[in-house]
């Protein structure tokens, strides 16, 4: 394997290296397993490690901005983001969270990417290197930062095969006071549960059943599509009611 590794010290440097056909790598938790174990035609890696994209700052009293290369551990350590800790703790292990980044989490395939599910529920915006700001679901190319408003009534729940370090069977993230509900593990990408949101006015039970119209689940090593469909209403209801496991 002949692989060039670039570690530019600016966003402009990253873009230049990407323009030459490089593949973006942030924490490496998704790119490196493929590179280490599969045949690959990747010839150039462009690392974000020195591009100055890590850090958490408050834009104003209610709005937070997280650099795309901020690690999941760093996100969890930010006092303003304490509400996200249960979600972060449910993602992989500390040794992975010390590498994995916010930006990278947007691009990992389901049933991974629980933080992306949270960001969808938070209606977060992605700042792109080309100057555009787009919704999380439309993030593409080089994401430089994520921003969102700190929610008032936050709910998170993840059904997994083990208590720690396991991918999602069903992930539910919700901002109740809007309401905005996002689901993970139940489709190829995180989904906004629009039917569930519309039904929430009739209560958590109604929203839980309506969520079945929002999903398109798949079989994998963690659960079958049948099982995911079967338990989605249970976990949506429990999440919305704030019930303990």
């Amino acid at each position: 394997m002949s692989l060039a590794v670039h570690t530019p010290d600016s966003v402009a440097g990253v873009l230049a290296a990407l323009g030459d056909g490089g593949v973006l790598i942030a924490g490496g938790t998704h790119v490196m397993p493929r590179l280490n174990t599969q045949a690959s035609d990747i010839t150039s890696l462009v690392s974000l490690r020195r591009a100055g994209l890590a850090g958490v700052e408050m834009v104003d009293d209610a709005t937070v901005r997280i650099g795309a290369a901020t690690t999941l551990t760093q996100v969890g350590n930010a006092p303003a983001l304490a509400f996200l800790r249960p979600a972060l703790d449910a993602i992989a292990s500390p040794t992975i969270r010390n590498l994995a980044t916010v930006g990278g989490n947007l691009f990992v395939p389901q049933p991974y990417g629980d933080l992306a599910v949270c960001l969808l529920a938070l209606d977060a915006k992605a700042e792109l290197a080309d100057g555009r700001t787009v919704g999380i679901a439309d993030a593409e190319g080089l994401v430089t930062a994520i921003r969102f408003a700190i929610p008032r009534e936050w709910r998170f729940r993840k059904a997994m095969r083990r208590r720690l370090n396991s991918a999602s069977i069903v992930t539910v993230a919700a901002v109740l006071d809007v309401p905005r509900i996002a689901l993970g593990g139940v489709a190829r990408t995180p989904v906004r549960a629009r039917h569930a949101e519309a039904a929430f006015a009739q209560g958590a039970e109604a929203a839980a059943h309506a969520a079945l119209q929002d999903i398109d689940p798949f079989d994998d090593a963690y659960a079958s599509a049948w099982y995911r469909r079967r338990v989605v209403p249970v976990h949506v209801r429990r999440a919305l009611l704030g019930e303990e496991a």
């Binding site: 692989l3 790598i25 490496g28 490196m32 280490n36 500390p94 040794t95 010390n98 720690l164 370090n165």
Partner: protein, 156 residues
Amino acid sequence: MRSSLIELTVNDEEREFLVPPGTTLLNALRDQLGLTATKRGCEQGTCGTCTCLLDGDAVMSCLVPVETVQGAQVKTLEGVTRADGSLAPLQQAFLDCFATQCGFCTAGMIMAAEALLERNPDPSREDVIRAISGNVCRCTGYESIVAAILDAAARR
């Protein structure tokens, strides 16, 4: 493709060495520096046996291209052992609590525990379980490893 010159501080010692492009931190430690305590397992970030400390944080060294961490501080199991070759309390606790069977996970387990105890000298059982949740052991059933880490915390 040309080799790159890498500078790292490994176990408090400044090291300079050449690596072929795309070398992981894991392979640099083992193949370039001869530090073979850090084990090569799944190479997918799943098993945890390659765990070492990168600037104080426990990471899976198989997931880190070494060219991206120029100048970093790295600590491996060799750096946990005392300078006179005697075992550190954490290592002694693993021995005393029968926390090692085949030994393949041990280096990674100890490094994950080392990172925990450096930040949290008095961890709860729950803290310990979380800290080693990325490290797979197929022999011990984890119980003796958790006991060893708690025992080491009490000794330190």
